[in-house]
């Protein structure tokens, strides 16, 4: 047997490796790990990445670029609405939103360590080092983090996952609204940054609403325990939330008398309030957007998957043709996608595995 060690061409002909080059999260996790475990191939992988950049002409991913543009337009319009509300609409310059994506791609390579120096160095200058997720109007997205915490983003929202997110460093930043189901880990708190404060979590589910230009920021706790820490912090100002309590921070706009610009200054006032549960379902209305009633009557799993995909904004992939044909009848009342899958599993078993932006279903 003559064993040929793999060259750059072996990597470049692999579809998963190409998705990694294109910045897909699941494949990135895989290849980062792979390089860690096979450091002897770091040099070859580096060459493959260099060749990829050359042959792709650094075009990037049109879908991501489009999402970034939608986001930029959305933010611009919101900003303009805010301004025209104050009666002084002006052209607003959005600061290079395009670079975000270049930066997001850089992270991919940064995590892998010193080996993939080429692309990383090239893009490091853009500074922002995080994974970015955007949703536009009438869309939502479910993201599963490497520690298996789940975040569901509501419409017009933006989630940024810090570059070194792993089971020990758990930090994300949210603009807009999201529902969090955080994996319990006493040792490593999960931190959610908002424009006004950060939320320290030990394992719990809660809803955060923090749209720019809205009247305030709201954090509703469903179960577990979270701590609200004001930005620019002061330990004594911390607030601890108990289940079915919410923290509401109101921004009041007061005209400033200082000068001709007649700018407004934001005055914030925080209160802790009880969440009023629905008397019938015992669900918090704050999370109603993340839940949905769904009737399924003798439909194939493939058809059901399309509905789930559509509503929850997460890709559903079948690893088995057979499972696609399973038939189910069920009624879901306001379930999250994972509860829904659990119920289906009980009546006709299958396995599912969660990746960053996809659920992979296979035979049990």
């Amino acid at each position: 047997m003559d064993f040929q060690p793999p060259g750059p061409e072996d990597f470049l002909c692999d579809e998963s490796f190409l998705r990694f080059c294109g910045g897909e999260y699941a494949d990135t996790l895989f290849w980062n790990n792979w390089v860690k475990e096979n450091p002897e191939y770091a040099g070859v992988v580096d060459k493959a990445l260099r060749l990829y950049d050359m042959l792709n002409a650094g075009q990037g991913n049109s879908k991501e670029q489009l999402a970034a543009m939608k986001d930029a337009i959305g933010r611009r319009e919101k900003f303009q609405r805010m301004l025209s509300h104050d009666g002084k609409a002006k052209v607003v310059r959005i600061k290079r939103p395009w670079m975000r994506y270049a930066a997001a791609a850089a992270v991919v390579l940064l995590v892998a360590g010193g080996s993939m120096t080429y692309l990383w160095k090239k893009r490091a200058a853009t500074g922002l080092l995080a994974y970015e997720y955007y949703t536009v109007a009438k869309s939502r997205k479910t993201i599963v983090l490497p520690d298996s915490s789940v975040i569901m983003l509501n419409e017009n929202s933006h989630l940024s996952i810090s570059k070194d997110f792993d089971s020990e460093h758990r930090e994300v930043t949210i603009t807009g609204e999201a529902f969090f189901d955080v994996k319990h880990d006493q040792e490593h708190p999960f931190i959610v940054h908002t424009s006004e404060y950060r939320i320290r979590v030990l394992g719990t589910s809660f809803n955060v609403k923090s749209y720019p230009g809205s009247h305030g920021t709201e954090t509703g706790l469903i179960s577990g325990k979270v701590e609200i820490v004001p930005n620019g912090d002061d330990a004594k100002d911390r607030i601890i939330l108990r289940p079915n309590e919410k923290f509401v921070l109101e921004r009041e706009r007061q005209p400033s008398i200082s000068n001709t610009h007649s700018a407004t200054v934001a005055v914030s006032k925080g209160i802790v309030a009880k969440i009023k549960l629905d008397t019938l379902t015992r669900h918090a209305p704050e999370t109603a957007w993340a839940r949905r009633k769904m009737e399924i009557s003798d439909e194939t799993f493939e058809q059901i998957a399309l509905k789930l995909q559509d509503w929850y904004g997460i890709r559903v992939i079948f690893a088995s043709e057979e499972v696609k044909q399973y038939r189910y009848t069920a009624t879901f009342n306001d379930e999250t996608i994972f509860k829904a899958l659990q119920y289906l599993k009980q009546s006709y078993p299958f396995n599912y595995r969660i990746e960053q932006d996809a659920i992979v279903i296979s035979r049990s």
């Binding site: 061409e9 060749l51 075009q59 543009m69 611009r76 670079m99």
Partner: protein, 183 residues
């Protein structure tokens, strides 16, 4: 039947404030614009940045846009101007522009683009030699795979060949390339 998706009718819709039409036009034109932009100035980050700005500008002034007969060449011209403005603002004069195609509105070929992106003289020469060592068919398949991001299945279908043949052709071509590039 496809009439509604023509750039001209998309343009009309954008003028009336249809944001979805703007996104469709962006999606349809993105790669053409990247390629054209790269033939004006071979810096992909800058080109992508300018395409974004271009569409934001279009949206900002959608209500006052003129009727355009040839949307594609309008966008090309607009992009070219955005790139030039960008370079001037950065203090780089337009003289550093590569301008592979003097003629406005034509996209450079794939080979021209990837060669122009290699600023390092030695690398640039090696890449020219490497591309010369490949058959037109091999270059075509590499372009489909890496530049158009097509799957092996799609490439096989377009070339009426088996997936295995497409794969092998691309594999061999990359091997030749990287050996010529001393990688």
């Amino acid at each position: 039947m496809q009439q509604t998706d023509e750039p001209v009718s998309l343009w009309q819709k954008i003028r009336k404030g249809d944001k979805e039409a703007l996104f469709v036009l962006y999606d349809d034109m993105y790669f053409h614009l990247v390629r054209y932009g790269l033939s004006v100035y071979a810096d992909s980050d800058l080109v992508k940045d300018c395409i974004g700005q271009l569409f934001l500008k279009i949206w900002d002034r959608h209500a006052s846009l003129n009727d355009v007969e040839n949307v594609r060449s309008y966008l090309f011209t607009f992009l070219r101007r955005t790139i030039v403005d960008h370079l001037n603002a950065k203090g780089r004069t337009a003289s550093v522009m590569l301008d592979i195609h003097a003629e406005e509105g034509t996209e450079a070929s794939y080979e021209e683009i990837i060669i122009a992106r290699e600023r390092d003289e030695e690398m640039n020469r090696d890449l020219r030699n490497a591309l010369n060592a490949l058959s037109p068919k091999q270059i075509e398949l590499i372009r489909m795979k890496f530049f158009e991001n097509l799957s092996y299945k799609e490439i096989a279908h377009l070339n009426s060949q088996s997936v295995k043949t497409s794969y092998n052709t691309i594999y061999d071509a990359i091997k030749v390339l990287r050996l010529k590039l001393k990688m």
